[in-house]
């Protein structure tokens, strides 16, 4: 069943992936208005209990679960249950979506216009759409896209509408609600809003989880949320948050539904709309508050070319087959199902494990552009390098990336020099070519800039470039950690290399997607890849770097260097000035 696809195949070269179709092509050749008002009749879940968005609310408020928690909160606070019930009703009102097809049609119209200006192509794997269509009929479905841009969820709904699939309801951060009008528009296109933190608020948690579970049990609509919790500012997948995943799995554990299917979705942007915004944010410039006027100001991005988007709908993953032999559902037999309980250790580690696997599946199907390879090389040559050398190294890296299973979108039948030059053209904001030499743009040369501003501008370029390099990290992360381990281990003994590897994995557990408990597997995978590429040999109990492997290992070492330096710098600082860093941890996502 679907579970087998979760484990990366022995040889990543052999990974089979579907072909893409450009959905913008048809839009460019036919009426947008017709498209927006066309007949929309998606296939529905076979166990669907038809109900309106409003009925959902009353089902939630009358659920045994919520009534139980209301009584509990009332007893603890001394407040009358009616008042707590009213509170719950207010929370739900603030949270709930009001999915309306007319709003979706409005978006279908306007987004088409915007997309056509912004992007060259929006490519979707249609086989993935067919699989999704089948899954939607059979089971409640949870859509789990990667999260790099505000665009993500509009894009998702847009694609599902295009393919006549059931529109999802989407868990969105409360921030959007601040946007007058737009917030409400999003709500009517299926977004429901959750507070960023509600750790101790039992009532909020109860309303929220019951709302999600009710929609799931009834098969109201596919549920969509972002495992990473927030947009990744660095283009590096964030370690997954498991709260919502826990909620959508519970109905299966408790036998309320036969199965739930998780669909990993990888959305890869050639250029991210928020590119320079992110770099500034990382440097400490506060994130602009989500506002309608801000959005209108951002119109200027419409004049730029953002290349293409690839959306890959992965194989639906059955929770039932994943959980087999891992979660004993009988444990849910002894307490009434509406009484909330903390998940057991066993369940929690299963959910965490699943979350990591899904994020890895997202990573695996991320489409990488040639520019990503070039950015990786440029970052290891900050002083710049000859165009011909860059081309040569890019081709070398392409080979290495492919042997590690990267999903590269390298144009067929195009001379490599052309590929490189067109990438450079698309990213001319970041690089400049002068006299056959390629280097990063170091801020605007004209005008008066203070040395601080110059440094800042330089940092913006480097960070923007790094965000492209980061897109390929998942391909190399295991071999790269192994390369660092080989470099730093006291000897070439396998045990010692492994110990070093394992230390690095632990250290980087919040930096990269390294599933806790998978260290041995990761080590084996790393060894396999490096041996296969001829970079290392395993001789008895030793791991030895070959002659031709030196360049590979030095590249891999270079890939992690900035991360290691960052950690080192930070720990020196912390050790030196312990009291300076009392509350906020600035290291998060700085690299």
């Amino acid at each position: 069943m679907a579970s087998t696809t979760l484990y990366s195949q022995r040889d990543p070269m052999l990974k089979k992936r579907d072909d893409f179709e450009d959905i913008l092509e048809e839009r460019r050749n036919s009426s947008d208005l017709k498209y927006a008002v066309r007949c929309y009749a998606p296939v529905l879940y076979k166990g669907l209990t038809p109900c309106k968005a409003n009925m959902l609310k009353s089902m939630v408020l009358q659920s045994d679960h919520l009534r139980y928690v209301i009584n509990q909160v009332s007893q603890e606070s001394g407040e009358a249950p009616d008042i707590i019930h009213e509170e719950a009703s207010v929370i739900l009102e603030e949270m709930a979506h009001r999915l309306k097809i007319s709003t979706v049609r409005f978006f279908a119209f306007t987004l088409t216009k915007a997309f056509k200006t912004l992007f060259q192509h929006i490519c979707v794997n249609e086989e993935g759409i067919h699989r999704l269509q089948q899954a939607i009929q059979e089971h409640p479905v949870v859509l789990l896209p990667s999260h790099r841009s505000y665009m993500d969820f509009l894009l998702m709904s847009y694609i599902l509408y295009t393919y006549d699939l059931a529109l999802p309801v989407i868990a969105a951060g409360m921030d959007f609600m601040g946007m007058k009008f737009i917030g409400e528009m999003l709500r009517m296109s299926g977004a429901f809003f959750i507070r960023r933190s509600f750790g101790g608020d039992k009532l909020y948690w109860a309303v929220f989880s019951e709302y999600v579970k009710t929609m799931l049990r009834n098969g109201f609509a596919p549920i969509e949320f972002f495992l990473e919790g927030t947009r990744s500012r660095t283009c590096k997948s964030l370690t997954p948050k498991i709260g919502l995943l826990n909620i959508v799995m519970e109905p299966f554990f408790k036998g309320e539904v036969f199965d739930v299917h998780l669909v990993p979705i990888s959305i890869s942007y050639e250029r991210i709309l928020e590119e320079s915004l992110y770099a500034r944010e990382l440097l400490g410039v506060p994130k602009p508050k989500e506002s309608t006027s801000g959005l209108l100001k951002a119109r200027r991005i419409l004049s730029e070319n953002y290349g293409s988007i690839h959306v890959y709908f992965g194989q639906p993953v059955s929770i039932r087959s994943l959980a087999q032999d891992k979660v004993n559902r009988c444990k849910y037999n002894l307490v009434p199902r509406h009484i909330p309980r903390k998940p057991t250790k066993e369940t929690q580690s299963f959910v965490t494990d699943t979350a990591y696997r899904i994020v890895r599946l997202q990573e695996d199907s991320m489409v990488l552009k040639p520019w990503v390879l070039m950015a990786s090389i440029l970052l290891q040559n900050l002083e710049g390098l000859e165009l011909s050398l860059l081309t040569e190294q890019t081709l070398w890296l392409r080979g290495l990336a492919q042997s590690c299973g990267a999903f590269l979108d390298w144009p067929d039948h195009t001379p490599s020099a052309k590929v490189v030059s067109s990438s450079l053209a698309l990213h001319r904001g970041l690089v400049c070519v002068s006299g056959g030499r390629v280097s990063l743009v170091l801020g605007e040369p004209q005008g008066l800039v203070t040395p601080e501003e110059a440094l800042f501008n330089r940092a913006v370029s480097v960070l923007s470039c790094a965000s492209y390099r980061n897109q390929i990290l998942h391909v190399f992360i295991r071999p790269a950690i192994l390369a660092v381990a080989i470099h730093n281990a006291a000897s070439s003994k396998k045990d010692e290399v492994f110990n070093c590897f394992s230390f690095l994995c632990k250290m980087f557990s919040d930096e990269f997607i390294l599933c806790p408990g998978d260290t041995v597997q990761d080590f084996e995978e790393a060894c396999y890849l490096l041996v296969k590429s001829g970079s290392v040999q395993t001789l008895q109990q030793n791991i030895v770097v070959t002659d031709r492997g030196q360049s590979t290992l030095s590249f891999l070492n270079g890939l992690l260097e900035s991360f290691l330096q960052g950690y080192q710098l930070f720990s020196t600082l912390v050790l030196g000035n312990l009291n300076m860093f009392s509350d906020k941890c600035p290291v998060e996502g700085t690299i």
């Binding site: 069943m1 036998g255 309320e256 036969f258 004993n328 559902r329 009434p336 199902r337």
Partner: protein, 603 residues
């Protein structure tokens, strides 16, 4: 050797449902009138006649001799079977040569002969007692394969003292004893463990079939444990009494078997299950005879030792005599039925009925598949008029009331008591049903539902003639989980069949067959066309195994009344915990240290 008492008796009204006209008393060697490789009486079976119409042969049942015009269509459409083209007939007779030779214990045989208790080591007698009615057992017989291990001899004790003698001799000579009552086990409980090297003696209780006394002051009767359900009921009826214990197997199952498996009867709402009906048990164990010293209706004397015996499945000894509650035959009996728009509404109604504690003697809710199945068994209508009325009814329910014929389901009801109260009770139940969208659908439909119960086992043999394997299993589950469990188990079966290469859509059907304060008993039917499968029985067993896993994961019990036998042993530990299992083991070790009762059920 045996006396045949062909007594003619008045029919109990409910037995009348099963048996048409007069019926001779079961012969002491019942195997002469029973199928050797299928369910029930040899003269009663379903077949497709030359015209391709289904009929039920014999004279014993209400359906006997009738043509069932819609069965063939239902059968072919449901299973993708073909009555004309794909037949899988059974081997006509037992191949005695395939039987393992009797491994007799000469010393035991000598001592047994001295007691004068009859015994036999004829092949027919041994094979007949080597199995119950699990699919794999019947399938093996039909294929003429037989069994790896069968009893080496059969003995027929005539009374409690005979049993004491046999058990003493078995202990003395280290012989394995397997008690045999009605032979209707569906858990593999009667199978002989293949690894058993000792002589295996099948202890057939069929001759211990007397009612020893009736105590009208306390309304109890002392009964020998070998008596068969229908005989017990008939004999008590003569004096105006009944036990009210009517398991679906009552035509063939024995009192001792009920005790040993914790049986449940369809009218338990009025009379109780076997553990509620039993007042006193006498049991012969290798340690000696165990019985209580009085017949007080309830005792606080530590854990109830009866409960070591109830459900012991022949692992501790032989139940020889039982004192059982009896009741006067109810004055009035009425069937009924209610149609619901869907299964959910039906379950909600049954839950409400249980909540108000006003369940009739029997209340069962069949799902849509079973409702259609029941319809396929409708005999040819006798006149144009009845068919016209039926048509009107159908029109009213499906068109006027807007019920979807592929969603609706039916509850069947049986009321008992004095007339006044039955009518009152009936109104109460129909009023509740109306609140859940239920529509009274007449007595006929109700009665037909109960007929189905008794003939269903015969239908399996028909299926087996045409490449269809079928089985039933049951569970008990808290009310709030009934719907989820039914849905998930059915879905699991369908998936497992697909994954295991079953090429036709399986039939999965369930009914809520008993209601309790805190939950319900759910009964599943499951069948599929096995054409194209190399080892249908193995496939079937894998699917049933998965279905049981699903039941347990959805909060259902390992068994409500079929028992554990060998079929469900592997789940005992997780069902009752290590300590619980240890408790049962320690009882076994004390009572039967040499494993004389070595059928290896349960533990």
């Amino acid at each position: 050797m045996f006396v045949c008492y062909g007594v003619l008796v008045m029919l109990h009204p409910n037995i009348g449902l099963l048996l048409n006209g007069f019926n001779e008393h079961l012969l002491p060697t019942r195997q002469e009138i029973m199928k050797w490789n299928g369910w029930g009486y040899s003269d009663s079976k379903f077949l497709f006649n030359k015209k391709g119409q289904a009929e039920f042969t014999g004279k014993r049942y209400r359906l006997s001799g009738m043509i069932l015009p819609s069965l063939q269509d239902w059968f072919e459409n449901t299973f993708g079977a073909s009555v004309k083209q794909h037949k899988s007939p059974a081997t006509p007779s037992l191949n005695a040569g395939a039987l393992p030779p009797a491994n007799l214990n000469e010393a035991f045989l000598q001592d047994l002969t001295a007691t004068g208790i009859p015994f036999s080591h004829e092949a027919d007698d041994r094979v007949f007692r080597a199995h119950g009615h699990c699919l794999h057992e019947i399938f093996a017989l039909r294929e003429g394969r037989g069994f790896q291990r069968v009893p080496d001899m059969v003995t027929w004790p005539n009374c409690h003292n005979d049993v004491v003698k046999i058990v003493e001799l078995a202990c003395k000579h280290n012989v394995c004893v397997i008690p045999y009552g009605g032979g209707t086990s569906v858990t593999g409980a009667l199978e002989c463990p293949p690894e058993e090297m000792r002589c295996i003696v099948s202890l057939d209780t069929s001759q211990m079939n007397r009612i020893l006394w009736i105590d009208e002051k306390n309304l109890v009767a002392r009964i020998e444990a070998g008596i068969i359900g229908q005989d017990l009921e008939r004999l008590l009826n003569e004096g105006g009494y009944c036990t009210g214990h009517e398991p679906d197997s009552m035509e063939f199952s024995s009192l001792g078997g009920w005790v040993a498996t914790r049986a449940s009867g369809m009218k338990k709402n009025v009379y109780g299950n076997i553990e509620d009906l039993v007042v006193h048990i006498k049991v012969v164990t290798p340690r000696g005879v165990m019985e209580k010293s009085c017949q007080g209706p309830r005792m606080s004397t530590g854990p109830d030792v009866h409960h070591f015996i109830l459900g012991s499945e022949g692992t501790l000894g032989v139940v020889t005599e039982v004192t059982m509650k009896i009741r006067p035959i109810p004055e009035y009996r009425k069937y009924g039925s209610v149609v619901f728009p869907n299964f959910e509404a039906g379950v909600a109604c049954l839950r409400e009925v249980a909540k108000q504690r006003c369940a009739p003697a029997s209340i069962r809710l069949m799902d849509n598949e079973q409702f259609q199945f029941g319809h396929a068994l409708k005999p040819q209508v006798s006149s144009i008029f009845t068919s016209f009325v039926e048509g009107l009814k159908k029109f009213y329910i499906t068109k006027f009331k807007g019920f979807d014929p592929h969603q609706l389901c039916v509850a069947t009801l049986l009321f008992e008591g004095d007339r006044e109260r039955v009518l009152q009770h009936e109104k109460q139940v129909y009023d509740i049903a109306a609140k859940f969208g239920g529509l009274a659908a007449g007595e006929d439909n109700g009665q037909r539902g109960y007929i189905l119960t008794f003939v269903i086992a015969y239908l399996r043999d028909l299926g087996l003639d045409y490449y269809v394997v079928a089985e039933s299993f049951e569970t008990s589950v808290p009310w709030d989980r009934v719907l989820d469990l039914c849905r998930n188990v059915k879905e699991r079966i369908i998936r497992e069949c697909k994954e295991r290469g079953v090429q036709f859509q399986p039939l999965t059907s369930c009914r809520v067959t008993q209601t309790y304060d805190a939950g319900a008993c759910v009964y599943f039917y499951f069948a599929f066309n096995y054409r194209g499968l190399a080892d249908p029985v193995h496939t079937y067993e894998q699917v049933e195994h998965a279905a049981r896993d699903e039941i347990l994961a959805n909060g259902g019990s390992l068994s409500h009344h079929h028992g554990v036998g060998k079929l469900r042993k592997e789940w005992m530990k997780e069902s009752i915990s290590d300590v619980g299992l240890g408790m049962l083991r320690s009882v076994k070790e004390y009572v039967d240290p040499d494993n004389i009762f070595g059928n290896r059920n349960l533990l």
